[in-house]
């Protein structure tokens, strides 16, 4: 396995822009699912960091979250996760089902999978139309668990086992913090190089 190479400052800026565009589309989609509720996007972060450090990006290893995972294939490979604090997940289920939350039963889990699906595919659609790359999402997988357990399972399942990874993190929240979430994108084999080649016109490194 090749060691991940730290992106140049220009590449970092580009990734931030990808995060911006993807998450912009994703939050717009989520907002329309929630009857046009206003969602504020936080400026995306692009980080080149060690695997354990990346867990702190999502609020620490022990935080209970709902995590939706989608594998990306096609012209580029990658892994996307939509992680939201457990109380926000419950709030979303309540709003979308229109009754009080009881437990993470089959119905609420399928609602969350669908929300994750919409959020992540909207993000990917934006990247795809920006670059003309074919980007294919897998079916979503859902886990309600400790953030660290979910994140580490995704990384290792994705064979992202180098000591360092590049992550694009986007976040949003609404007034009163009732809805907040993280959208994470990590590249698979080949890294973000295809994006760099197309958008920066640079040769492969």
């Amino acid at each position: 396995m090749g060691e991940e190479v730290k992106p140049t400052p220009m590449e970092m800026d580009l990734l931030k822009e990808l995060g911006n565009i993807g998450a912009g589309n994703a939050t717009a989609a989520l907002s329309s699912m929630l009857y046009d509720r206003k969602l504020d996007m936080v400026v995306p972060e692009v980080a080149f960091m060690s695997l354990p450090e990346s867990i702190d990006l999502i609020g620490g290893p022990e935080a209970p979250v709902a995590g939706i995972y989608i594998e990306v294939s096609g012209d580029v490979r990658g892994h996307m996760a939509f992680l939201l604090p457990i109380d926000c997940a419950q709030g979303l289920v309540e709003q979308l089902l229109g009754h009080e939350f009881v437990e993470f039963d089959e119905m609420s889990c399928s609602v969350l999978e669908e929300v994750g699906n919409v959020v992540i595919t909207s993000y990917l659609n934006a990247l795809s139309s920006m670059t003309d790359l074919m980007i294919k999402p897998s079916v979503p997988g859902l886990a309600i668990d400790m953030a660290g357990a979910i994140w580490a399972s995704i990384l290792v399942g994705a064979e992202l086992t180098d000591d360092y990874i590049t992550v694009i993190k986007s976040a949003f929240s609404s007034e009163g913090r009732q809805i907040a979430g993280h959208i994470m994108l990590v590249p698979g084999e080949g890294g973000f190089h295809k994006f760099f080649n197309i958008l920066l016109g640079t040769g492969s490194r």
């Binding site: 357990a149 580490a152 290792v156």
Partner: protein, 159 residues
């Protein structure tokens, strides 16, 4: 009582009243090795089964094949007796059971590798809480070898 946190891929030792804690074990496996008579032990948060061709392993706790010998030497260096060392393990879950493509089921492989390397080094496995579909938190008390394992929304269970 001082708690030391063991992050992913790390390995730490403790003695006496100190407690070692690792959280967010999904497919990862927490491995505790201790000499309960002397009250010393170590805990590793293993991320993968084999270091394979990674020649320069910076964090031996990352892989099962490197973590176990490293734990043994760290615990004996702290006064543990090699011949009486025991182990308890937790983790190796599959958090996404519905995703049929089981690249995500690394948990099972991790558990198998940890067991294999414990056996290879002659360490008795005294307790475990492994596999299943839930993440785990592991709290290890080197003073008596007690290990508590907890999943979200559940009570801690002693193994």
């Amino acid at each position: 009582m001082a708690e030391k946190f063991v992050n992913m891929s790390e390995l730490k030792v403790a003695k006496g009243e100190e407690v070692l804690v690792t959280v967010g074990l999904g497919s990862c496996v927490g491995v505790a090795i201790y000499d309960k008579g002397r009250g010393v032990g170590g805990l590793a948060h293993v991320f993968l089964s084999e270091s394979k061709n990674e020649t320069d392993v910076k964090q031996p706790g990352k892989f099962a094949d490197t973590a176990i010998p490293a734990l043994i030497s760290a615990v004996t260096a702290l006064g543990g007796r090699r011949s009486v060392l025991e182990a308890k393990i937790a983790g190796g879950a599959n958090l996404f059971p519905k995703l049929a493509n089981s690249t995500l089921n690394v948990g099972k492989q991790n558990v198998a590798a940890v067991k294999k390397h414990l056996a290879k080094h002659g360490i008795v496995l005294k307790g475990m809480a492994v596999e299943g579909n839930k993440g785990r938190k592991m709290t290890f008390y080197p003073k008596n070898g007690m290990v508590l394992v907890q999943s979200i929304g559940e009570k801690p269970e002693e193994i």
